[in-house]
Symmetry: C2
Subunit: 170 residues, 2 copies
């Protein structure tokens, strides 16, 4: 892990729910700064929902000033329509980061799960349990989207610790 | 068409080439203000390419101050990976417009082709020819991506003329 404190944000983008998790990495420990979800009201026009995702994320980036944003590699999706929607949310997140000079790194879901639980095929509940343990949280991080985002941030912290090029700056 | 001059931008987003076409609609005529393509260098990281699309589009919106941005409805795509990439470019374009309070309307490709050529299945060259004619351009608008963007802007202008709800604000 780096000598200087480093702030990392993990983001799990989605049109309905965008999970985020922000951690600070200091010498040998990681602790949580913030986590949660952006949930644009479903009755709004889809473009207004993307604007809410953008504005909310911008707010988080401006408050916490992370150096790196970690995001999941997108391999597959249910269908082309949902892939386009996911891509739109992802594009919004990437632009919010890049406009502030924040590096964007991506990790495969398997890699993120393995980094926190040792098992690339861990269940959602196992990931939540390990994130809780690694970050000394009082309860399981909820919802899953926020836990996944914290796992991505932890994955990036661990990747730096072992000086492994697990993540790809995209 | 509206009584007051109205500026409309059509955008055909893509990771490699994002076409744009900006027209001004006054009483009974449409004329072109600008058209072309944003082509982020292919050797750059994909996130830097999206940042270039965002910044370039932002520049165009700030110069021309359109009231409406017209974009193509995305129905299908070759595969899920390219759908995610297209979605990312689309998300970037939508956020650039919505952050400025610009309405985003979408038209199906068939509708845009029919609006300019009378034929929803017109070829690329037919669309270019009709866009040239409708906007009194000296030569065929090139490349196709820019012609498609101009066709989208014209489609929105025509839709207003006939007071038809052809486009859907999204």
């Amino acid at each position: 892990m780096p000598d200087n404190p480093e702030i990392i944000i993990g983001v799990d983008p989605g049109t309905n729910v965008t999970g985020y998790g922000i951690i600070i990495v200091e010498s040998s420990s990681c602790s949580v700064l913030d986590f949660g979800c952006i949930r644009p009201p479903a009755h709004l026009k889809i473009t207004d929902r993307y604007l809410i995702i953008y504005n909310s994320l911008e707010h988080l980036l401006d408050i916490h000033k992370p150096r790196v944003l970690a995001i999941e590699t997108q391999f597959v999706h249910k269908n082309v329509q949902s892939a386009i929607k996911l891509g739109m949310a992802r594009g919004v997140v990437i632009v919010a980061a890049k406009r502030r000079g924040i590096a964007v790194v991506e990790y495969s879901p398997t890699r993120a799960k393995r980094a926190v639980s040792g098992n690339g095929h861990a269940s959602k509940i196992q990931v939540q349990g390990m994130v809780q343990k690694l970050l000394n949280l009082e309860s399981l991080p909820e919802p899953e989207d926020a836990a996944d985002a914290l796992a991505l941030a932890l994955c990036h912290a661990h990747s730096q610790r072992f000086s492994q090029s697990l993540g790809v700056e995209i």
